[in-house]
């Protein structure tokens, strides 16, 4: 069943007053009808959302569409946002719900299966994911190889493990917030992250 994109569950609410989280102030301005505030939020969060969606969906084109969808949902449901929750938690919850919906679509399964058959040929759907060499140019070839394989291993993780790992390790969300985004308990999130890291270690042992 599709997950309803929208605000996080009440149990994931974290106290985030305006003074602590400047994004809350921006979001309140969006609620008041300021389109420039929405643009500011887009510029601040779209690079993170796009990268998250790329890793979740393994498709640049779909990740770009999904990034648009996330921000359209932010605008559409702006009245539902409550400043008691962090804006980053809220937007990543929307992004996660949309990603999981996308991954569970039947036509998506067919597309991924076809794509998986071609993986061994080194062919990818759309342009490559983040180029590690561009980010860490001083690193040697082994580090670049590790980064490339790590990205590939993350994409092969089960979707919930992948989401839990990315949200907690890459996007810096607290376990409690990840639990809210995934609709499970904090303990379940820790277990997901533990299993994900065990899988990554097993897959990359020769490079670590």
């Amino acid at each position: 069943m599709d997950r309803e994109p929208g605000p996080p569950a009440p149990e994931s609410v974290v106290v985030a007053p305006v003074s602590v989280d400047p994004d809350v102030a921006l979001m309140l301005r969006v609620q008041a009808g300021e389109q420039s505030a929405f643009q500011d939020l887009f510029q601040k969060y779209s690079p993170r959302i796009l990268q998250y969606a790329r890793r979740m969906l393994a498709s640049d084109a779909r990740a770009e569409e999904l990034t648009q969808d996330v921000f359209v949902q932010v605008f559409r449901f702006r009245a539902r946002y409550r400043p008691e929750s962090r804006f980053s938690t809220w937007i990543f919850t929307i992004a996660t719900n949309l990603c999981l919906n996308e991954l569970r679509r039947p036509e998506r399964q067919l597309r991924v299966d076809l794509w998986d058959d071609r993986q061994d040929d080194g062919r990818r759907e759309g342009p490559s994911l983040a180029d590690p060499a561009a980010v860490v140019p001083e690193e040697g070839a082994s580090s670049r190889e590790l980064a490339r394989r790590l990205d590939a291993a993350i994409r092969r993780l089960p979707e919930k493990q992948r989401a839990a790992l990315l949200l907690s390790r890459m996007d810096g969300l607290a376990y409690q917030d990840v639990a809210g985004a995934l609709g499970c308990s904090e303990g379940a999130v820790k277990a997901l992250v533990f299993r994900a890291t065990q899988s990554l270690k097993a897959a990359l042992r020769e490079f670590l």
Binding site: G33, Q35, F38, Q39, F42, Q43, S46, P47, R48, L50, Q51, R54, E64, T67, Q68, F71, V72, F75, R76, A130, P132, V135, V136, E139, S143, L146, A147, L150, D151, L165, R169, M170, D171, Y175, K190, V193, F194, T197, L200, K201, L204, R205, L208
Partner: protein, 205 residues
Amino acid sequence: MRCGRARRWMAAAFDDELGPRRRRGLDRHLARCEACRDEMAVSGRLAEALARLPATAEVPAAVEQATLRRVRVLAAEDDERWSARALWLRVLLPALATAGVVVVAALGTLRMPAGRQAERRVAERAPAAVAGRSEKRVEVADADESTRRAGHGRPPGPPPALAAAPELFVDLPLLHNMEKLEHFEAIRTTTLDDDTPGEEPQSNG
């Protein structure tokens, strides 16, 4: 400590969620278990590699433009919805209210004669209802009834009952229209020799 538990505690240690007592226990285990020491080192290198992965991607300008365009369309739709609601509140609601008032007024006008008939029936029943209160009143009611039958015309003289007690009868034109008075009953049953304390002149001593 077994290696399985030590590996779970390693994960907690990386999250800084391991208490000092458990941390000491883990350190003691690592000191004597080479496999777990290696595992801890691999976990550290994996954490570093994850931290080095870029957390952001460059957003193509087309994506930003498309998003903002969609949001502008949404905002325009919201505005239209609000305008429609405002139109409803400003024009349609008052128009409906006016129509309602007109309908109520029309219904009231149509039902008016029936109301008047009811009032008349009540007025007719009233003298009979009070007839048994006293003999004197019955006589007055009879006199009044005969007056009413005469078509509200001025009677030629007082009825016999009143003629026998002229102190009870004052022939005022007002009394011939008693039916139309709101306090008809009170006035009709009041006799001139009633002593109401309020009408007594004030005595100074």
